[in-house]
Symmetry: C3
Subunit: 390 residues, 3 copies
């Protein structure tokens, strides 16, 4: 990759905005085939999507004992279920007898057991095999050997996070630590009290693009001036292209005239009680690779969960979370939701526009990262390392 | 595969029901990839589906000279046609000149020849090339060298059975013998006089599952108690999970209160004239691998033909056959047909529920067969042997 | 491949019709997998479709400065754009920054630049990078290194012909020379003045067949008697199966009763001014492999452009071109257009009928060419040579 001595704009930086990258040259992206090769996607499913932690289910969506939801994690159908003891657990959604899916609905509620509808093998909500017709004298060892395959689960920010791998990496290191590191303070996330918030709105997007294009898009703001007029209206520094994610602890400041993080800059809701005053007019974005994005503003939290379904298709589910009293009062969330909903539509259209270009000879060796995008190389290295690719 | 000392239920077996399998441990199924791998399916097409006999066309459906039907056999489009001499013959449905399909309709009737609609090469109903525009002085050797490629055909039970392989296995051994062996008497099948019956109803099912899941489902009755309330109502022993197919010559006895093999146990039709009195209140099921199933009850015969179209898609056509006078009298077949139509829908839903589980890590090494399913291992070995896989 | 001593019909040939092929035996076609194997198609995309010249865009469709059209060439999206200097140029339609498609519309018009809608990298109509937000001090070398990737373009017959390869073959040799050689006179094509004609009608066909089946169909006339009643009505010699393309300089003569090249033989329009009197009642067909076909009749020119999209799918766009005054007068073109539109529908149905036969065992070694098709072997050799296949 040759470089060309380009330098960043000589921005007039207000206090608190990140310094430009010291190395201002063009750097390479991943080659195009990383976004188009089905075999590479298959390896990503095994070594990235199934091998890392992903944010799977909002705890409130499975509030009652016996409540369950089904989610796709890499190639696996995973069942998240609330036990009679109130604990959340996750299992591969596959009967150990002949492989039928235990649940085919997206969500539901059972009483005391999960019963396979094919041959009636029956499992407790803790996954143990508790019954099978025509089989008697089943020992505890038998039950254990043919119980549902457990999936690692951790609750954080009000969500069940799961890892489909048999040997999951450290949740503290990979998720909690990454968020704290990005925000510059391990405790900063706690102020938003995400686990106590209520779901105000959920929108699902079906994006015809590789999941890494969606991650890269979320991580940089070089495109903000071009495609996000509403967002740059509220966060003027975004018009200069510098992503908040490229600097530790930085949050983008609201425009002087913006009363809140809404599509027209009008007032939102009172700041969440634990939000630090230094953050009460700031926007923070955090990427938890591979598939979770967090947006933090004073009065709400936005959480994106991605589900890569094919090398060129990714489903994204976006939750808008508010103080419970805001949701309970049936407050008008529309201007608040509309801002990031538009951002999502603008971003996903851009990702879909890139997908067909990935297969071109013009992109065989990839494209280039300008200085305000250099931090994307960290994500590329992260993926490369997990795939064991040079 | 570890085993776990499980034993079958201590069934109170009425006289005539099969003894439980002597070995009562759990045994392995095929690994999951056998149901999901497109390359393995491609080999199955070549070495199983095209290399064995399949039940292709009801003879009555091509009754007149020149009548033809088109069927899919593995990757091949096969034409079954009635000659002017009354004989049925089968050919690959491909013109030898430039490869056009001779017939694209499902069925039809021609007069004396099959004429390719592209360049008008013309074949006799015996497959011989009889004309080609602009070519003269065609010798008999020329005609023979460019006649339609013949496909082996045998008539049995009123159907044309075909084998797309150049060197077909013995029909007597693979088909007639297998049926006789299952029924415990080579002559037993003759009593139903299937070749003299009339088609009462035909239903086509498009099943989103691997063909082997459909075979396995048909071969075992462990699922009957869970998903087949109507069938176990008529055949109570099925509620205990023991498949008739696991014991030579066994037929399931009708419930004492059942007057016939109908959805509500109401009366059916008079027994077919040749049915042995010992079979006049019994149900027999026979699998003719890979793609044909027979159900024999006193007053009708049900025949399933499967056409595997993809690793995860199988079309099943089911014929209900009755005495000619029953069909001629326009008798009400609805309660009779409804019973196995419901069984089909219940079974195919179960197969479709298994298909997505086959790709899970939980099924990578396969699942387990309980003792009443142990005979499925024979089918697995049959497939393995034909594929040359360990 | 055995041959069989077949000979061509002993045609009573009128003066000027081509002599029958001296070698009258059957010759082999390509094997069936050449029409069904996705990997072979991928190689064709790289070594044939992207490596040769294809007729891409009618110049009049991008008449004004800044007008552009997007076309698919092999796997590449190519942009053909008219510069402010009036010149046509072509580029890979991919931004050099992060790979977004510059244009997703089929056609449009820009002012002075092509601006990527993702991050606003901006290119001149000559492809040079002229601007990128946040980057300053960009040298001419930088601009050149990250300009749009140019695609070779030549204008001929009123069309922009492009070659997506980095090192295109000679346009004069591959295209102009091939047309002259076929017509037997390098100047013959000039008489039709195709570059001065106006577009009367354009029809797009989506054909579910391999592109080579479409080429082969266009090159031979052995099928004309069977499927083209209207065409053989106007060109009676076509009923004998001899393609005009099998003999240098030969054009098929209109039927004595035909006043013009129309669906009913009624009068067309006055002959184009430059058409030689010897050609004023003759039809000439020219194949410019791989994807362009020309039909020349006294009063109009028909040009087919193929876009192979998959091993079994080909889009064909057909232009009917007339004298500008005919189109300007809004003359009734319907009987004129209808003739070849019917021929197209008849031909593409035949191609779609062949596609499923290509995968049969009956066609594994291919089919046969009769003497009036022998010249197709030249096309097969042409493809084989480019693929480096024996």
């Amino acid at each position: 990759m040759s470089t060309h001595g380009m330098t960043t704009d000589d921005l007039t930086r207000p206090a608190g905005t990140p310094a430009p990258a010291p190395d201002s040259t063009l750097r390479p992206t991943l080659p195009g085939r990383w976004y188009t090769d089905p075999e590479l996607f298959a390896r990503e499913q095994a070594r990235v999507l199934e091998a890392t932690w992903c944010c799977a289910v909002r705890g409130d969506d499975v509030a009652e004992p016996g409540a369950f939801r089904r989610v796709q994690v890499g190639r696996e159908s995973v069942l998240v279920v609330r036990g009679r003891d109130g604990r959340l657990r996750a299992f591969l959604n596959v009967c150990r007898h002949r492989g039928a899916l235990l649940c085919t609905e997206e969500a539901g509620r059972t009483r005391r057991t999960l019963r396979c509808p094919y041959h009636a093998w029956t499992y407790g909500l803790d996954g143990a095999l508790v019954g099978a017709p025509n089989l008697r004298a089943m020992t505890d060892a038998d039950r254990a050997a043919h119980g549902l395959v457990p999936v690692a689960l951790r609750e954080w920010l009000g969500y069940a996070w799961v890892c489909a791998a048999a040997d999951p990496p450290s949740f503290e290191g990979e998720v909690v630590g990454a968020v704290g590191e990005r925000l510059g303070d391990p405790a900063a996330i706690e102020g938003y009290g995400a686990e106590r918030l209520a779901l105000g709105r959920r929108i699902r997007y079906d994006v015809r693009a590789n999941w890494k294009l969606v991650v890269e898009n979320f991580m940089e703001c070089y495109h903000c001036a071009t495609i996000h007029p509403e967002l740059t209206g509220v966060l003027p520094e975004f018009a200069r292209g510098v992503a908040t994610q490229s600097a530790v602890g930085h949050g983008a400041e609201f425009a002087p005239g913006a009363a809140g993080f809404t599509v027209d800059g009008g007032a939102g809701f009172p700041a969440l009680p634990g939000v630090d005053p230094g953050r009460d007019r700031r926007y923070f974005a955090v990427t938890v690779p591979p598939t979770t994005f967090l947006n933090l503003v004073p009065d709400h939290v936005i959480l994106h969960r991605m589900t890569p379904l094919a090398v060129d298709r990714t489903v994204v589910e976006c939750d808008w979370l508010y103080a419970p009293e805001v949701v309970a009062a049936d407050a008008d969330l529309s201007r608040s939701v509309e801002l990031f909903h538009r951002v999502n539509l603008q971003d996903f259209a851009a990702c879909e526009r890139c997908q067909p270009g990935m297969g071109s000879r013009a992109y065989a060796a990839g494209g280039v990262l300008v200085p305000v995008e250099h931090h994307l190389a960290g994500f590329h290295d992260w993926v490369r390392n997990r795939l064991g690719e040079p």
